[in-house]
């Protein structure tokens, strides 16, 4: 793939800049490039961190002395709810997503992520969702039921104002961005690594980020479903969590913690990845036990999903079940222990340079290990019962989250700041910031364990004198302000370094990973040429690699076509399979996010016609966006030069879009399984669950609708088989047949829903059934529209037997729709009938 002397380097950079640059002025809002989007995520996340920190200071001010009434109970409830919500949903996850979006292509030798417009959409969803949540504070309607929004407190009876709606809708809006990032990062890491980067050669940070991304894909849907159900219950009265109608508030807890516990590891894993990247550089040796670390990452990714009930040890679950989750909670300490021993062994056998990033790494090790130990204590059910809902849990949580995420994050900030900006931070300010933060943090939270053991519950806005909690709270508050001073020092350091920081030399820490081969700050295309990377330590093996890549001495240097390109490769071996052509700057993501904001605002203000219009407009925007793909003139038209060494991905049968579809369907399937879980949970556990006297759904039309769907999917399968062989019957006619059959299925299903005497406001059974029917309808309708669109694209020449890619991408969607239909029919209709009810 070497391409020596193809173009003079300066001219090559000029051409690449012209292809990859953001539009000037306001046009920068149309940017899709991962460097720009990653930076925006991180800057916005940092802003929300300051907001969350400010709220924490207000909390500590209120609790500093007994019997104070500085903020009052009502505002205090809003403060602690917003502090948790902002820190978890608007700071921790998004800033790490932004970090991953920024880093992944640079680590794997690619020019961008594989779905750049999705990155942009994700950012705007995050921004707008975050603004909705934030502004609720200024209007005095912020959520106040705690960051995990337990029902019935968060339900319409006990929280009649819009606070809970703000949380449910705002967080769901933000979660679109998390899922978008999860899908995109997964596919990018697996399918766009440079030549020769096998799984064995992948930078350890990529393993961590891959695990994080997949955990987002499987972890977020339960909460999205729970939020949708609770919002529907609040808005329309359909019953899901109210005991009186056959619902159960404990269902919310299950769904929330199915998300909530993996969430802790979604935050921890990328931070641990930072540690595993930074620490070996300053130990001046490769990380010890690479394979053990990969093992630990994969174990953590799975086992952390088996712990959620340890947040619910006090709700009355059988002891045996508690024992299962207790043991699983202790098991997760094993992969964490593997990592800690690997880090210690690396330090032990290396020649450690005690630089500023390493200071933060040492802070992390001390605090996180302490937090892990109290975690093992909390995994023991009897101890857990004693300290449940006390400040002990608050202290543990902050040791894990601040120690496990914030300290590595700041280590990463100081480590990569020269790469981001090309300038070095101040050592003096940085060290002062560290010590103030470290001492302040421990001053706040170490003593808070004692506050909890002395019995002080969480979430009380004040306490009486003489309880023994006075001095511990005062120390915690003083420590909090010291920590705030430390954070202020870091902000000052970063702000000043833009002007006064010394120019950073290339690869200032003598790092091994490829992100240091970019310019500092990086160009939007990262690398002028893409080098083979059959090594975990490209810059240690070849310190001149950055130079030769910048000189255009490696692959993918042609620019005459004007396309944004990067390599597409095999997931395991890193063998190049095709060239992925990427979309350029686009306004569609911003337009779609704005119209989605209209939907969410319409729902929040309960102006439902407005929300409906927003849905329609969003659909139009997204479909129009999808039109600019493949050989569309704005993408990779046929009459422009095609590469000679590898085909463009849209000319193949297996590209990132297919993988993106499958990964997105995994997330979708998790949501569906969560709904199934809810159905069976209510059926077996809810104390007042009742089946209706007669089945509310007409069975014959349901079966007929299923037959039509099956025929449509069989037709689509045959069509794809013909495409794979690049022959077969006329494509357009087949697509319209499938569209027609799918439409018939959709209309029959719609009729079943409209004609069914469902009483969701009376019975939870009918409410869940209603949601299931809407879920099936949405999928069937989407399949029909997308297939019709394929038919239209055949007419335009964008899809054909020689260009089968898009049609193949749609196939998993139809198979999924078929699967959920028959599974839904069996679980929601046939099983209750066989049981003797409904």
């Amino acid at each position: 793939m070497s391409n020596p002397g193809a173009t003079e380097p300066r001219e090559l950079h000029r051409r690449l800049q012209a292809i990859w640059a953001n539009l000037p002025g306001f046009g920068t809002l149309s940017a899709v490039n991962h460097t720009s989007i990653g930076r925006r995520f991180m800057v916005t996340g940092a802003f929300f961190f300051l907001v969350g920190g400010l709220l924490a200071m207000l909390i500590r001010t209120q609790l500093a002395l007994p019997e104070q009434d500085i903020v009052g109970a009502h505002l205090y409830n809003q403060l602690f709810t917003m502090h948790g919500t902002v820190m978890m949903f608007l700071f921790a996850i998004p800033i790490l997503e932004g970090f991953a979006i920024y880093m992944v292509p640079k680590l794997i030798g690619a020019r961008d992520l594989v779905f750049p417009r999705i990155s942009s959409l994700g950012y705007y969803c995050y921004l707008f969702g975050g603004m909705i949540i934030l502004f609720s504070l200024f209007f005095g309607v912020a959520p106040d039921s705690g960051w995990f929004m337990y029902t019935p407190l968060s339900g319409s009876e006990f929280s009649p104002g819009p606070g809970s709606d703000v949380w449910l809708l705002g967080v769901t809006f933000v979660e679109i961005s998390a899922l978008a990032a999860g899908v995109e990062l997964t596919v990018s890491i697996l399918r766009s690594r440079s030549q020769g980067m096998t799984l064995r050669h992948m930078p350890i940070l990529c393993w961590y980020l891959l695990a994080m991304s997949l955990m987002i894909v499987f972890g977020f849907p339960p909460l999205i479903l729970a939020s949708i159900l609770l919002e529907i219950e609040r808005a329309t009265g359909l019953i899901f969590f109210e005991v009186a109608g056959g619902g159960d508030p404990i269902l919310w807890q299950h769904l929330f913690w199915l998300f909530g516990h993996p969430e802790v590891y979604i935050i921890f894993l990328p931070a641990a990845g930072i540690v595993s990247t930074v620490l070996p550089v300053f130990a001046q040796r490769p990380i010890v036990g690479y394979r053990w670390l990969v093992l630990a990452i994969i174990l953590t990714g799975f086992i952390s999903f088996g712990l959620w009930v340890h947040h619910m040890f006090t709700v009355g679950i059988p002891h045996l079940a508690q024992a299962f989750f207790s043991v699983a909670s202790m098991l997760v300490a094993i992969p964490t222990g593997i990592q800690i021993f690997a880090w210690l062994a690396t330090l032990w056998t290396g020649r450690v340079i005690f630089s500023l990033p390493m200071l933060w790494i040492f802070g992390f090790l001390v605090i996180f290990v302490a937090g892990g130990l109290t975690g093992v204590m909390l995994a023991l059910a009897p101890f857990n019962w004693q300290v449940h809902d006390t400040h002990f849990v608050v202290a543990h949580m902050h040791y894990v989250l601040v120690g496990g995420m914030f300290f590595p994050l700041i280590a990463g900030l100081y480590y990569w700041l020269p790469q981001l900006t090309g300038r070095m931070p101040s050592d003096l300010l940085g060290k002062t910031g560290f010590w103030l933060t470290f001492l302040g943090f421990n001053g706040t939270f170490l003593v808070m364990h004692l506050t909890g053991l002395l019995g002080m519950p969480r979430r009380v806005y004040t306490y009486a004198s003489g309880t023994g909690w006075e001095w511990t709270n005062l120390v915690s508050s003083l420590g909090g302000f010291v920590m705030a001073a430390g954070v202020a020092m870091i902000i000052l350091d970063v702000a000043l370094h833009f002007r006064y920081g010394q120019r950073a030399p290339r690869n200032p820490w003598n790092a091994d990973t490829l992100e240091w081969a970019t310019a500092m700050p990086p160009a939007p295309y990262n690398f002028a040429s893409l080098a083979p990377l059959p090594t975990r330590h490209p810059l240690w093996d070849n310190p001149e690699l950055g130079e030769s890549m910048a000189q255009g001495q490696h692959g993918l240097t042609s620019t005459g076509h004007g396309r944004r390109e990067t390599y597409g490769s095999d997931a395991v071996t890193g063998r190049i399979l095709h060239i992925i052509h990427l979309p350029t700057n686009s306004w569609w993501p911003l337009a779609a996010a704005l119209s989605l904001a209209v939907v969410f605002m319409g729902l929040l203000l309960r102006i439902y016609p407005l929300a409906l219009v927003g849905v329609g407009v969003t659909a139009v925007f997204v479909l129009r966006w999808s039109w600019e793909n493949g050989v569309h003139p704005n993408a990779a038209p046929l009459n422009v030069s095609e590469p000679e060494d590898y085909p463009l991905h849209s000319r193949t049968q297996d590209g990132p879009g297919l993988w993106g579809m499958v990964v997105a369907l995994m997330a979708n399937g998790t949501l569906y399984l969560s709904l199934l879980f809810g159905w069976f949970y209510l059926w077996t556990v809810a104390p007042l669950w009742t089946l209706p006297p007669e089945n509310p759904l007409s069975l014959a039309p349901l079966l007929l609708s299923g037959v039509l769907l099956t025929l449509a999917v069989i037709g689509y399968q045959q069509l794809v088989t013909g495409l794979r062989r690049r022959r077969g019957r006329p494509l357009k006619r087949q697509l319209w047949w499938v569209t027609g059959l799918g439409l018939g299925h959709f209309l029959l299903l719609l009729w079943v829903l409209v004609s069914a005497p469902l009483e969701g406001t009376v019975r939870a059974h009918d409410a869940v059934l209603t949601v299931m029917l809407y879920y099936l309808l949405i999928h069937s309708g989407t399949g029909v529209v997308l297939t019709a669109l394929q038919g239209l694209r055949v007419g335009y020449g964008y899809v054909s037997h020689n260009l089968p890619y898009e049609t193949i991408v749609l196939r998993p969607f139809w198979l999924y729709t078929l699967g959920i239909y028959w599974l839904g029919l069996a679980a929601f209709v046939l099983l209750p009938m066989a049981w003797g009810g409904g």
Partner: protein, 120 residues
Amino acid sequence: MPVNGQRALHGAHLVMGLVIWSLWFVALYGSLSVVCSLAPPAIEAGPLNWLNAGLLVITLLTTGLLGVAAWRCWQLSPDKQANNFPLGRFMGRLAAAIYLLSAVSTLAVGLPVLVLPPCI
């Protein structure tokens, strides 16, 4: 996937052990919850009852299956001295370790059925 004329283990083996562990975990907790709701065994029987026995059998079968898978992967991964195929060795050894630790996790989480009654 052939590399250098040899075949590496499929990438799915890196997660399959823990997928099986997850399915077993769902079956364990799900069947316990459903049976305790619909037809709980007599409390006086303590841990010696048909439900715990069933859960133990499922646990032992799953542990055995995962153990065999770990052994097979270890056998299939190329020997370091025998040939120069580091990717195959990496995948094989990693998959074997994941199957093995999945087996250990299954046994560890399932063993409380020996000592605790199921529905109180």
